[in-house]
């Protein structure tokens, strides 16, 4: 196939998705009755690739012929490739350009290069010049001239459809091609739409449509289009491919008679009336045969078709511990997707790693074919001349009706000395001639084990401190407590009278308690007088030592002009009584000091309410 366009790497895109789109056509010159296959390949290292945006193609009718996805997970990276196939049917002669196909993922955008295509007249060789060959031009004219008017009357139907399977008794999982042929002898006013048949018990793969052809049936010429589908029965027994439908719009059946009186009316009304025609294929029944038990290899994984196997290694000389890349390719015709993981034979001299498979599938008129490639890494464990034994793959060949086993040829590898398991990193410092005194790494390996079990003291301390996060509450309390205390202290210093007022009652109570504990009434009275004068001094912001009854009464009146007179009288009575006891103790009984203490306490309580 001639590849017309190279892919365009989307270099400006950020490195995150590495989005790429390639667009190719199978040829760049096509006759009007032929078709062109446009293959668009979108690839990137994300799992969900966006669909491509096709440019406007006014000279072509575009048919989607399916897509295939290839998904690889290798070396820790995902690479997805989705291949879209489009059939382009030209309907206007001349030079045409297929614009860039674009694909966008977020802010990333990639596009292919435009493709130029020349659409030629029917029967023109694509490689020839645009001037058609005289012989080929004469042929249609002969056909036009030959029949008479009576002969031109068509005998066959305007259009019809047929469906056919290439095998009537396929084996389970054997590829069977369904071909639907659409015959038309009239001009179509739109694209025919095909509804796929119901296929229970089968896997299906869309195939690209076949070529347009011409066929004469019942004396009438038809243009025949082919639709193909690959079927893979997944169960034995009677299966059915249901009817499929083709719907198309055609001009209403009006024949323009050039000799009729209303010729012009007929001529100009041609094409204005249209109708939708629906054509249905018949249901096709067939029998899927069970795969025979006889001769079934023990490692048979269900592959049916015709396959070959090849294996290759990237180098045939290595050192112990080196990585050798082994590639095994199974290619052929059949359902490649049904090929499971490949088992490597027992290889005691090699250490093998997991196999990563990737599918490369292509479709043409003959069905699904391609290859499945498995890759793995082998590491020689020992030195010497080693051999990778043949890798076998078994499948059922339906053309021979028997199981077959294909095998790769053994691969020889020359391995130099050096044993990974026994020799950790061997670093040789050599002053021998030829090495220039440089250190040469012989083998990459893990380092040796440690012999100190317990973690270090520092590590234990770190773990202890890290687990003691709740201790944070102590310094946090100290810090925030100190802030609160400082704030409180500052407020006290700024307004000492306020502090005196607040502490007045507390101080008085202390004196009252002391007074109650005194045995001597004069001393008790002295304490009570101090309690009372101290309370009033603190409340009124006066010096308690120089406070007289008159001063106290005047200050109370000044502070609270509406203070009840009874409270002041009570103050005067208690004050004088206390003075009497203090300065003339013999005149009074001890029993009264307790009453006075109660009286002072009550009076302070009253003033507390009055001065609040």
């Amino acid at each position: 196939m001639k590849i017309l366009l190279a892919s365009l790497l989307f270099a400006a895109a950020p490195a995150s998705a590495l989005l790429r789109v390639d667009a190719r056509v199978n040829k760049n010159a096509v006759a009007i009755n032929e078709q062109l296959v446009l293959t668009v390949t979108v690839s990137g290292n994300v799992s969900k690739l966006p669909p491509p945006q096709l440019p406007s193609m006014p000279r072509f009718n575009v048919h989607n012929a399916g897509r295939s996805t290839n998904f690889q997970f290798a070396n820790g990276r995902i690479t997805s490739t989705v291949q879209y196939t489009f059939i382009l049917v030209p309907h206007l002669i001349g030079k045409s350009a297929i614009g860039p196909v674009t694909v966008s993922l977020g802010r990333e955008r990639a596009q292919s290069q435009p493709i130029s295509v020349t659409i030629l007249r029917p029967g023109t060789q694509p490689t020839a010049t645009h001037q058609p060959a005289p012989a080929k031009r004469r042929a249609p004219s002969k056909r036009k001239k030959a029949p008479t008017r009576a002969q031109q009357k068509p005998r066959g139907p305007d259009m019809f459809v047929t469906a056919k399977l290439d095998k009537q008794k396929p084996y389970v999982n054997e590829q069977t091609i369904l071909t639907v042929r659409f015959h038309t002898a009239v001009r179509l006013l739109g694209q025919p739409a095909w509804n796929e048949p119901e296929t229970k018990g089968m896997l299906t793969e869309d195939l690209p449509p076949g070529k347009f052809s011409e066929r004469t049936y019942q004396g009438r010429r038809y243009i025949v289009s082919e639709i193909k589908m690959a079927l893979f029965p997944i169960q034995p027994g009677k299966l059915e491919v249901g009817p499929s439908t083709i719907k198309t719009r055609v001009a209403k059946n009006r024949t323009v008679d050039p000799f009729a009186n209303d010729f012009f009316q007929q001529f100009f009304s041609q094409g204005l009336g249209s109708e939708v025609r629906a054509l249905k294929t018949r249901a096709i029944q067939f029998n899927a045969r069970r795969l025979p038990k006889k001769g079934k290899p023990p490692d048979f994984g269900g592959a049916v078709g015709k396959f070959t196997i090849e294996a290759e290694i990237d180098r045939h000389e290595a050192k112990v511990g080196d990585a050798l890349n082994l590639t095994v390719k199974i290619a052929g015709t059949g359902n490649l997707k049904s090929i499971g993981d490949l088992e490597l034979p027992e290889m005691a001299e090699f250490r093998s790693y997991e196999m990563v498979g990737s599918l490369n599938q292509s479709k043409d008129k003959n069905g699904v074919q391609g290859s499945k490639v498995f890759k793995t890494v082998l590491t020689p464990k020992v030195s010497g001349k080693l051999s990778i034994p043949g890798i076998r793959f078994s499948f059922f060949d339906p053309s021979r009706s028997q199981y077959r086993i294909v095998k790769t040829k053994p691969i020889e590898v020359e391995v130099e000395a050096g044993k990974v398991a026994a020799a950790p990193t061997q670093v040789t410092f050599s002053a021998q001639p030829g090495t220039n005194g440089k250190i040469t790494t012989v083998t990459e390996d893990i380092r040796y084990m440690h012999d100190v079990l317990r973690p270090s003291a520092a590590a234990r301390w770190a773990a202890l401190i890290a687990s003691a996060g709740s201790i944070t509450v102590i310094p946090a309390f100290l810090f925030f407590g100190s802030i609160g205390w400082t704030f409180y202290r500052d407020r006290e210093l700024q307004d000492p009278s306020r502090a005196r007022r607040r502490n007045a009652r507390g101080n008085a109570k202390k004196h009252i308690r002391t007074a109650r504990s005194k045995a001597n009434s004069a001393e008790a009275a002295g304490e009570l007088a101090e309690a009372l004068s101290g309370y009033l001094g603190d409340k009124l912001n006066r010096s308690a030592s120089g406070l007289t009854l008159k001063d106290a009464q005047a200050a109370l009146k000044l502070h609270r002009p509406d203070m009840p007179g009874g409270h002041l009288e009570q103050l005067a009575r208690i004050w004088r009584e206390l003075e009497r006891i203090r300065f003339a103790p013999d005149q009074h009984l001890d029993a009264t000091s307790s009453d006075l203490a109660k009286g002072v306490e009550h009076l302070i309580k009253v003033f507390e309410e009055d001065l609040a």
Binding site: V46, S47, F71, F73, A74, N75, G76, R77, I78, D341, R351, Y353, E354, V356, A421, A422, E444, D445, I446, R447, Y448, M449, H450, D451, V452, L453, R454, P455, A459, R460, W461, A462, A463, L464, I465, A466, A468, G469, I471, T472, P475, A476, L478, F479, S482, I483, W485, T486
Partner: protein
């Protein structure tokens, strides 16, 4: 009568034999015995004893490191993933240990990964991981407590403010640095990390074998358990590829 005579003997010997059979092997004994097996290339036996040691002293980087070495040598299905999990634990405890870093990177490369992500300068990455998360946490607590105590002195002793001010500013700066570093390490670390210990482990679109296989993860890959759990199925994410799905919990080894 014979039984009666034997009874005292039985009573004496029974606890002795029980003591013998139930005598606990100390971690040091298991560790040194494992080393002997390792030197004699009996890696399976060595791995079993190192595993026991690591379970007894879970904060020993050496136990996890040696277990990783033994598992890497065993080369049985799942041993690569388990050795990576052991190296990850050892690295978590002792990130400055060059041997641990080397072997962890060596094992990761076999699984198609690298310890230092591509595009990250190695020096910067090593500097960022020079302290373990436990050490960072401990440092940030120490600096926080120091800052609070110095702050307390600064508040209650105005006459000391000149002397306390500079150390307090330094300690506050160190606290903010270590707290930010610790926070960055926690934020950038994989959430609930685990290692895949099954070759080509299938990750499905839902929690059950009936759901389709979305993708396959090679053994040894680091994945994140992103929360969901139904029966024996765990929801995982592969951050580098932006993929997520459900995997059988037997195919995972939590770190």
């Amino acid at each position: 009568m014979k039984l009666l005579r034997l009874l005292p003997l039985l009573l004496i010997t029974a606890p002795l034999s029980a003591q013998e059979t139930t005598r606990r092997v100390t971690p040091e004994e298991a560790f040194s015995e494992a080393a002997m097996h390792y030197q004699a290339s009996r890696f399976t036996e060595a791995a079993a004893l190192y595993k026991k040691t690591a379970s007894l002293i879970s904060d020993s980087p050496s136990a996890h490191y040696n277990l990783g070495n033994a598992l890497l040598r065993v080369q049985t299905p799942g041993s690569l993933g388990r050795s990576i999990a052991s190296y990850a634990r050892a690295f978590h405890l002792a990130p400055r240990d060059g041997d641990i870093r080397h072997n962890f990177d060596f094992a990761l490369k076999r699984a198609g990964e690298e310890l230092i992500p591509a595009g990250t300068p190695a020096t910067l990455w090593i500097a960022f991981h020079i302290l373990s998360r436990t050490e960072l946490k401990a440092f940030q607590f120490l600096f926080l407590w120091s800052a609070l105590l110095l702050g307390t002195l600064w508040v209650i002793r105005p006459e000391w403010r000149e002397r306390v001010g500079t150390p307090m500013a330094v300690v506050c700066g160190l606290w903010l640095t270590t707290a930010g570093w610790w926070g960055a390490r926690a934020a950038l670390a994989m959430k609930d990390p685990a290692i895949v210990v099954r070759m080509n482990a299938e990750v499905r679109s839902g929690p059950g074998g009936t759901f389709s296989v979305g993708f396959k993860v090679p053994e040894g890959r680091r994945v994140s358990r992103i929360g969901g759990r139904k029966g024996s199925w765990v929801e995982i994410g592969v951050p580098t590829e932006g993929l997520k799905g459900w995997i059988d919990s037997d195919a995972l080894e939590p770190i």
